[in-house]
């Protein structure tokens, strides 16, 4: 079983229909923007939101928690994998992430 990430965290997954990278918002819905993600600072909150997200298998695939940090008022991912998921392919700027709703 994978170890739990350091707090704070957000819940992420891929949208079932489009495959897009998505994050859980405060109202429980999903956003393509990390900046709109709900930041979870307590383990019990993180576990609860992950459980809720995992149950939404009609909306998303593979929900999990990722550590984040607040940097100059913006949410940033910590691991390279999540940076690539957030910003798009690393070879050049293209793909869905060039669209406005990905920030």
């Amino acid at each position: 079983m994978a170890s739990k990430p350091n707090l704070p965290v957000v819940v992420t997954a891929n949208a079932l229909l489009e495959g897009d990278v998505v994050y859980v918002k405060a109202d429980g819905s999903w956003s393509r923007s990390l900046q709109k993600a709900l930041v979870l600072r307590e383990t019990k909150d993180a576990d609860s939101h992950l459980q809720t997200a995992t149950a939404q298998s009609n909306l998303v695939v593979g929900a999990y928690l990722i550590p984040v940090e607040l940097n100059a008022g913006r949410l940033e991912t910590i691991h390279s994998r999540e940076y690539f998921r957030k910003t798009g392919p690393s070879n050049y700027f293209h793909g869905k992430q060039t669209e406005k709703h990905y920030v």
Partner: protein
């Protein structure tokens, strides 16, 4: 280039219908992701970091203009206007929606293409020298043999659940442009004692942990023999 017969056309049509129903069952919640994943992989559909990806088979890397036009049309209609040709001579569309993939597969079928066995632990696309039939140093065009292997291994019940993916390449020249020594089985057309046949190389690796093998099998199989049957 192989042309579909009636059996092939019906088989691909039936397979696409099955997949369309599987996608609907996943969306409607009748299939879990764990149940759906092996089904989509058997039809070339991955879920990668950013999006779904559909890998389309291009046997031994040979296309005609109708197929190339269809790939371009698919990229414009259902993707972002481009595709990625792979080292194993397939093409990948990196941004399709799950709900569009069945339509893409139907469009491919119209030009006798599909995405079967482009992923999963099975015999993958059989590759060949990309200069086949145009290379000065070629002994014989390797693509008819690649096609025989493709037909033999496609939907073969013994090869649908291998421990790992399995890759075969064929070269018609002593200059190994098909990189046969980095394949699980590499076939090199050679002439020995006035006869044309294959030197067989086994145990190479391909991909992130690629490794070469010398000609370690010592096998010389004459073309036209029944070794593959």
């Amino acid at each position: 280039m192989y042309s579909y017969n009636e059996f092939d056309t019906d088989f691909v049509r039936e397979r696409n219908l099955q997949f369309r129903a599987q996608v609907q069952r996943r969306i409607q919640g009748h299939l879990t992701e764990d149940e759906f994943k092996p089904l989509r992989l058997m039809n070339g559909v991955y879920l990668q970091l950013h999006a779904y990806m559909l890998r389309v088979a291009i046997p031994y890397g040979t296309l005609n203009s109708a197929k190339m036009h269809k790939l371009a049309d698919i990229s414009k209609r259902w993707d972002k206007g481009y595709g990625h040709f792979t080292t194993r001579q397939n093409i990948q569309f990196n941004w399709p929606k799950l709900t569009d993939i069945s339509d893409i597969l139907d469009a491919l079928a119209k030009v006798e293409m599909h995405a079967i066995q482009t992923s999963g632990n099975t015999v993958r696309n059989v590759t060949a020298d990309h200069f086949s039939a145009a290379a000065e140093d070629e002994i014989e065009d390797p693509r008819p043999y690649a096609e025989l292997i493709r037909q033999w291994s496609t939907d073969h019940p013994e090869f649908q659940f291998l421990p790992r993916k399995f890759k075969i390449a064929v070269s018609g020249s002593h200059n190994d442009r098909a990189v046969i020594r980095a394949h699980d089985i590499g076939l090199q057309i050679v002439q020995k004692h006035g006869e044309t046949g294959f030197e067989v190389v086994v145990g190479g690796g391909h991909g992130a942990d690629a490794y070469d093998r010398e000609n370690n099998s010592g096998v010389f199989a004459k073309t036209g023999s029944s070794a593959l049957h």
